[in-house]
Each structure stands twice: as C-alpha cells, then as structure tokens.
Amino acid sequence: MSLDSSAQATDAPLSDAAAALEYGIPPKQRFNPFHWMRREPLGALGLALIIIVSVGAAFAPFLNTFPDPREQGLGPPLEGPSADHWFGTDRFGKDVWTRVLHGGRISLKIGVATVLIGTVAGTLVALLTAFTGGAVDFVVGRLVDVIIAIPSILLALVLYTSVGQDLPDLPVLPRQEFVLVIAIASFFMPGTYRIMRGMVLELREQQYVEAARVVGAANFRIMWRHIAPNMAGLMIVITSISLPAAILAEASLSFLGVGVEAGTPSWGADLSGTTRTYFIAGPWLAIFPGLALAITVFGFNVFGDSLRDTLDPRLRGRI
C-alpha cells in the first residue's frame, strides 16, 4: 500500500471491489438465494417448512374449515379424516384441522416471544458483565451456574406456579401465555449468556477494541458500536437453534397441564389431557398435531443449522 494510493482514495472513493483489490480484502460475495439453496438443500427445505407452517398459522382464520377451534359438536365425535373434517374430529366433535392451524399460532407465538426475550436478555447481560468483568461478572456467572443446575422444566414449573398469578394480561399475550413465555425464557437465558459471554471476552481483546479505547471511546460506545455488532451473527444463530427447543418446551409444559388455558388450541395441549385417552380409538388425534410439531421443529433445526454454517462457518459443530 502506498501513500499515493491513499491519496487517490481520498480524491475518488473506490468501489467495494476496487477497494478490496486495493487493500487485499476478499471481495464481498453477493447473496444468491438459488446458490444458497444448492449449497444448503436441507436448510432450504427447513426454510420452506417454516414458511408453510408460518403461513398456515398466520392465515388460520382463512384456511380453517370452522371458525372457532374451541367449538365442540362440529361433527360426530372421533370421526376419522373426511371431506368435512380433513384431519378428523376429537372426542367432543372439535375439528382437528382447525385446531392444528390455530395451534400453530400459539406455538409459534410463544416460541418466538420466548426466544427473543431469552436471547436478548442473555446477550445484554453477557455484554454488560463480561465487558465490565470483576465482581459483577463473577456473581452473575455463579448465579447462572445455579440456574443451569436446576432442571429446566422444573424451573419453568416453579416459575409458572409461583409468579404466574401475579403477571398481567398483555395486549398480545394473555396472562397464561405470558407466564409460559417468562417460564420458558428463564431457562434459555442462561445458555445464551454462557455462549455470549465467551464471545464478549474474545472480542474485547481484539485490536480494534483496543484502538477504540486508545482514541478515548467510552465503554458504552465500545460495547454498542464495536462489540455488539460482531455478536449479531451468533445471536441470530442461537435464536434459530433455540426456537424449536422453545416450541417443544411449550408443548411439554402444555402436556404437563400447566400450559395455555384449557381449551386453547396448542399442539402440546392437544397431545395431552383427555385426548391421549383416545389415541388408539382415534390415531389421527396424535398424528396430525404431532406431525405439525415435528415438522416445525425439524424445519427450524435444519434451517438454524444451515444459517449457522452460512453466517459463520467457524462455528460449525460448536453450537
């Protein structure tokens, strides 16, 4: 690199490609979705499944065959799949297709809300404590150790029963769903914190952070402008990989009877309670909600896996 070329750069800004050539930086590749699908066919399949499930959930009021998924007596009890009831009916004549569609709304809503809260909170705490270091980092670290030592479902159950009654109804989340979100997020946050803390410890030793410190940047500015943006990729990956686990956790809690309000369509709830008594007499009661749950979780899993490889190949196998 010469002074002349630097002068040239100030006179006329280089294009990205020219700058890359000039400074020896590999040229930035334009994202080609078709190329990505060829490279990551399973990821593409996962994305397709996610889109299908999300569209089904989002447009459930238009795709369902009966308006109210809670309504009983819509058809004969325990009727198999038919033209009137595509996925059959349950013991009380509720339409299973309608419930599966609406169940996706609950599962996805709780899953997304849970992961967002858990990931954002875990990342913020990691950023603050790991960057600050010292006693705060030590205390929070040990606290997280304690939380991780408690079985996750047990922790969720304890939170559900202890603080559940005190939480308010939110506009988009009724109290019972809000409780679920808090309960499930509570066991995602420590895991996110652990991973993110490691990354912050690594990043804060980087030369550009030292450079920022040398030029007098404040701690907050360093965290916000130099470290946080470099955590985004990992955060996205963690989010995509945690989402299926969150959906399964909602299903598990609903299965244990502490999930959404009785009667609310939810894949987990529909695989539990009275329904289980009729799985032999009506196997479609298990197959369709189970399949919806399995497809969604599978889709998020493989998509998250591909996303991780794409965004940061170095992380392959580490998360």
Partner: protein, 624 residues
C-alpha cells in the same frame, strides 16, 4: 473450493454431525409414524373377536364342568376347598390423588378404600336388591317411630385388642354431631340431625332416641361415616378439633383421627403403607367372624389378602395400566372406547344403569337474584350437550337420582320444561337481574383429575358465553385444592362463579334421596358448604328461599309412608327447579360401563352402583 464441491459428497465425507443426526432422526420418526399408522387398525379384529369368543366359550365350559365336579363332592368338603381356593392375592386399585385425611367422620376425597377396608360399619345396603347385609351389627329393630335399637355383633375387637362394644359404637356415632358442629365437615348431617342421643343400653346394644321420625335412618347407617372408631385411641392419639358445648351447657373436647392411628379401626385389613405413591392394606388375622355371613360377606373374613391402591392422576396412564392388566378395576368407560376395551382378553366390560352426576353449582353471593340463575340455565343447550357428550344416549337429570325409582316421579318430558335452551330469554333475564357484586366474567371452576370434565366444562362455558355475551373462563385445579376452594365458607362471595363437578358418565346411589342428590341443594349441606345458599345468607332472598327449602326437606325426611314421601319429594324437586336454587344437574349418560379384570370374581356388579363395592369380602382373585 468449497463452492465447487458436491453437497452430497461433502455430506458423506463428514463425521456424524448434528445435522446428520437430525436428518436421521426425522426419517426414523416419519417411518415410525407410518408404521404405527399402518398398524393402527389391522384386519384381524374379527379373528380377535372369534378368539375371544372361543376363549369365553371354553372358559364357560370349564366353569360349568368345574361346578359339576364340585357338586359331586360332599357339600362340606367342597365348601372348604372352594374357600381355600379363593383365598389370597392382591386387589389392585387406583385413585386420582392422595387422601387429605382418613377420619370417617370428616368426609374427604380419595379415602374410601382405606376406610372401608380397615374399619367396620354397621352393615351394607344394596338399593338395587333392597338388601341389608349385616357387618358390625347383628340386627336392628324400630321399636317405635322415634326409637331405634341396634344389636352389635359379639366378639369384635379393634386392631389393638380393645373390645368393640356399645360404648364404642355410641361414641362413634355421637362424635359425628360434634364434629359437624365444630368444623362443619362434609358429613351428611341429615343422617344424624334427627337424633337426640345414641345411648349404650347394655354391652352390645345401642339405642337411638330420635326427636322425629326419619325414613332413611337405617340406610344412612350403612355409610362409611358410621364406621366404628375406638374411643380410647381417638381421645389419646387424635387431634383436638375444639371444645363442643352440649345443649345442657356441658363441654367436651372433640378429636379427629385423620391418620387412623393403630387400633382405631376393627376392619378386615390394616394399613401397611400410605404415602404419595398410594396405599396398601393387608389382612388382619384376628378379624371377627361373620356367622352367618350375609350377602357379600364371608364367615372367615375376606378372600383377598391385600389391597394395593396406586395414585394415578393421569387418566391415560390409568387406562393404559388397566388394559395392560396392572389394575383390576376401571370405572366409567366411555362408549367410544368400548371396542378398545372389549378387544383385550383379560377385560370384562359390564354395562350398568346410568347413575352419573354432573353439576353446575352457583355462588349465591353473586347469583342471589333468581333471574340470574335462570339466565344461566337457559343459556345451556341441553340437546346439544347430550349429542356432543353421550354417544350411547343421554338424559336429563333431576335433583333426585332416577336409580331410586320409588321416589323419582318426574318424567323426562316434564324435566324438559325446565331444561329449556332459550338464549334470547337468557340474555334478557341476565340484563334484568340484580347483582350485588358485578359479574364481568364467569369463571367455571373444576378439578383437573377428571379426564372428561375439562372438555365438558368448556362446552358449558362456550354456551354461556355465546348466550349471555359475558366472558367465561375455565379454571381447573387438583382435586384437593378444588375441594378446599369449593367449600371455603370464609367469604360471602366465592372466587369462582360456577362450580363444575361430575362428568355425568357413571355413578350410583346409596338409596337415600338426600345422598343422591338432594344434599347438593340442601341449605344445610352443599348449599351452605359450597354455594353460599343458606339460611344465614346476607342476601335476603337467598335466606328466605333457604328457609322454605329446609322446611320441605325436613318434612319429606320425616315421612315414613313411601307413597306420601314420593309426593313430597316430587314437590321438593319442582320447587328446586322452579326456583333454580343453588345448583343445576346437567345431562348425564343413559348407560355406564365398568371394566373389571377377568381374574376378579364375585365382584357384585350392582354394588359398584351403590358405593359399597369396597366392603364386599366375597370378592376373590382367580389367579391368586
């Protein structure tokens, strides 16, 4: 370059990665699902049926042959051999939850298997046969309309060796009145409210002095509340419930025995385990003889050695355990499940008359205005409820069980005039009704252990919301919490609006109209304990209605002529339905099905309708 590589080559060359694991798991899961779906309904049902029929025929033939062979032997030797052959084994039962106490005078849920097996009652009564089978009593005599004399079976002992005598029996019965006065328990007070005192006349005779006649007194004494308890153990090891003041002003400490300490009972079994997993009772070798042995009893005590009761809150787990042969009794099979049960070789499905119960109790603190209760009842579509819930047929249910045919004179047609769905009128009544406490949301409160109740309650909730335009909520909690909150009498206003209980699928009767089901309307029974409908209510209209109903209930109890009593009972039922008082019986199944393991013999199927099944000592296990 990575981009030029073939994806599948890269995939193959990789070690086992998370993604590969996921792919493999997905394929395996899909394959398993397909296999399961394919195997769900195979074509050999008929073969199974034929095999079952053949097996049944073979079994029947074998039984017949065995009976003939037995008849050929000498009568005495055969009886002895048969008795020996029947002895042994463990009866395997289940219950949904732990008991919350065992004192027979304080009725709690989930304890009858212990009380019936470890304690002695006067006798059992089978309403379907109108039979009194003597247990701790040897006989009784109605000396005059207000004097009743008992003869106690001689030779009985409590488990600690103390004699069961008239003092103990008089103490046991008299304690109920005192417990009721002190802690207002669940006990059916109508069984003793007419009694002035229980007097120990001589060592083996107890005389009841009544202040008025009572038509049901003998039947009441068959209930488990009237179990004999050892006075010495109760006073020495019981928990003090309080100081009771007698009418003459004297006082007395009253104790309960919620843990049934050693020596308190005199039944055929003793408790050997009672914990969070269940209970186990085993034979007490010094149990007294029943000579002669009435129906359901055996001279030398029960055939079965032990009872093991597992706590199984989950309905699906109970069903699976029963179908796997790990339980001997499974009550209330849904008709939709019948093919599943009937296809299992070791299962004996018995069809019994319907005696189910389903209620929506109303909080009188909020629904004191008759119009509000009427609005709730008119918001329910009874025909749709029956169609949705009762695939084998359903019917409307009156305040008295139609299993007590002698007293139930209301026809289905007549009942339909009260059970009328009219959403417009319901809303008009609701809007016109007076509410001392605003009702912005109607919470229907039930217990989670009942596998059908959740959906049944949601069905009611949906109809009420649709008809009245008021938001509804279903809250389900565990059974003991449900019972505690249901019977919390510390407040004039409950933390729920409607109490949902009973799924209407199966049940029975003791033969007493009060038990099935007037106690659920009685202002001194559940009306007081659960529904804030009682004579002392701060809501004047509820208090006035309660006084009227108490008068009618008292009059019918005192009427000993069956025909005249039936008339009075019909009047009571009409009054309850006209005034929408306190509670509302919901439609029930027309038929009920019970499953028994085929190894359980002589289980007395009618007894399963009248609550005395657990006292049947003649049950035996064929594989014991």
């Amino acid at each position: 370059m990575r981009d030029n590589e073939n994806y599948w080559n890269r995939l193959r060359s990789r070690p086992l990665s998370r993604r590969r694991f996921l792919v493999g798991s997905g394929v395996a899961a899909a394959g398993s699902a397909a296999i399961l779906a394919g195997c769900g309904d195979d074509d050999d049902d008929d073969d199974d049926g034929a095999a079952a029929a053949t097996a049944a025929a073979t079994e029947a033939a074998a039984t017949e042959a065995a009976a003939e062979a037995t008849a050929a032997a000498t009568e005495a030797a055969a009886a002895a051999d048969e008795g020996d052959a029947k002895r042994g084994g463990t009866l395997r039962l289940w219950k949904a939850q732990e008991d919350a106490g065992l004192d027979p005078g304080i009725y709690h849920l989930n304890n009858t298997e212990i009380i019936y097996s470890t304690m002695t009652q006067p006798y059992t009564y089978q309403p379907t046969k109108n039979i009194f089978a003597m247990d701790g009593m040897a006989g009784y005599e109605q000396v005059d309309p207000t004097t009743f004399v008992w003869s106690i079976r001689p030779g009985m002992k409590f488990h600690n060796g103390d004699a069961v005598d008239s003092e103990a029996v008089a103490f046991s019965f008299g304690r109920l009145t005192k417990l009721y006065d002190l802690i207002n328990p669940h006990t059916t007070r109508t069984g003793f409210v007419f009694v002035d005192d229980f007097e120990a006349t001589d060592e083996l005779t107890v005389t009841e002095h009544w202040n008025r006649p009572n038509a049901d007194a003998p039947v009441y004494r068959a209930r488990h509340y009237y179990s004999f308890v050892n006075p010495r153990v109760v006073d020495e090891q019981g928990a003090l419930e309080g100081e009771w003041t007698a009418p003459d002003g004297s006082t007395e400490d009253v104790y309960s025995v919620q843990t049934l300490p050693e020596g308190v009972g005199s039944g055929p079994y003793k408790i050997v385990r009672r914990d969070a997993t269940g209970t186990r009772t085993e034979r007490w070798p010094d149990y007294h003889k029943h000579t002669p042995a009435d129906d359901g009893f055996v001279e030398d005590g029960p055939y079965i050695d032990a009872w093991e009761t597992r706590i199984m809150p989950d309905g699906a787990a109970r069903k699976a355990a029963f179908l796997a042969g790990d339980l001997d009794v499974y009550a209330a099979i849904d008709p939709l499940e019948l093919p599943e049960f009937e296809s299992v070789d070791h299962v004996n499905v018995v069809e019994l008359p319907a005696g189910g119960t389903g209620y929506l109790g109303m909080d009188g603190g909020k629904f004191h205005d008759k119009r509000s209760r009427q609005a709730l009842q008119k918001s329910l579509d009874y025909e749709r409820i029956i169609q949705t819930l009762w695939t084998a047929g359903g019917k409307l249910a009156a305040p008295i069980s139609d299993l007590i045919a002698a007293y139930q004179k209301l026809s289905q047609e007549e009942l339909a005039s009260w059970y009328r769905w009219d959403p417009q009128e319901a809303r008009a009544l609701w809007e016109a009704a007076d509410f001392a406490v605003p009702v912005e949301k109607i919470k229907l409160f039930g217990a989670v252990e009942d596998p059908l109740l959740s959906d049944v309650t949601q069905l009611y909730a949906g109809m009420i919301q649709e008809a009245l335009g008021v938001e509804t909520e279903v809250e389900l909690v565990d059974q003991n919490t449900w019972a505690a909150r249901a019977t919390d009498v510390s407040t004039d206003v409950k933390d729920w609006e409607l109490l949902s209980y009973g799924n209407g699928s199966a049940g029975g009767t003791t033969g007493v109209p009060n038990d099935t089901h007037l106690i659920h309307f009685d202002p001194r029974g559940y009306g007081l304990n659960a529904f804030n409908h009682w004579a002392g209510s701060p809501r004047p209209e509820v208090a006035a209605d309660s006084e009227v109903l108490i008068g009618m209930l008292t009059a019918q109890e005192a009427e000993t002529d069956p025909e005249a009593r039936a008339e009075l009972l019909t009047e009571v039922q009409r009054w309850i339905l006209d005034n929408h008082y306190c509670n509302w019986r919901m439609p029930i199944s027309s038929v009920s099905y019970y499953g028994f393991n085929k190894r359980l013999q002589d289980f007395g199927q009618d007894d399963w309708l009248n609550f005395y099944d657990r006292r049947r000592e003649s049950m035996w296990l064929s594989e014991a």
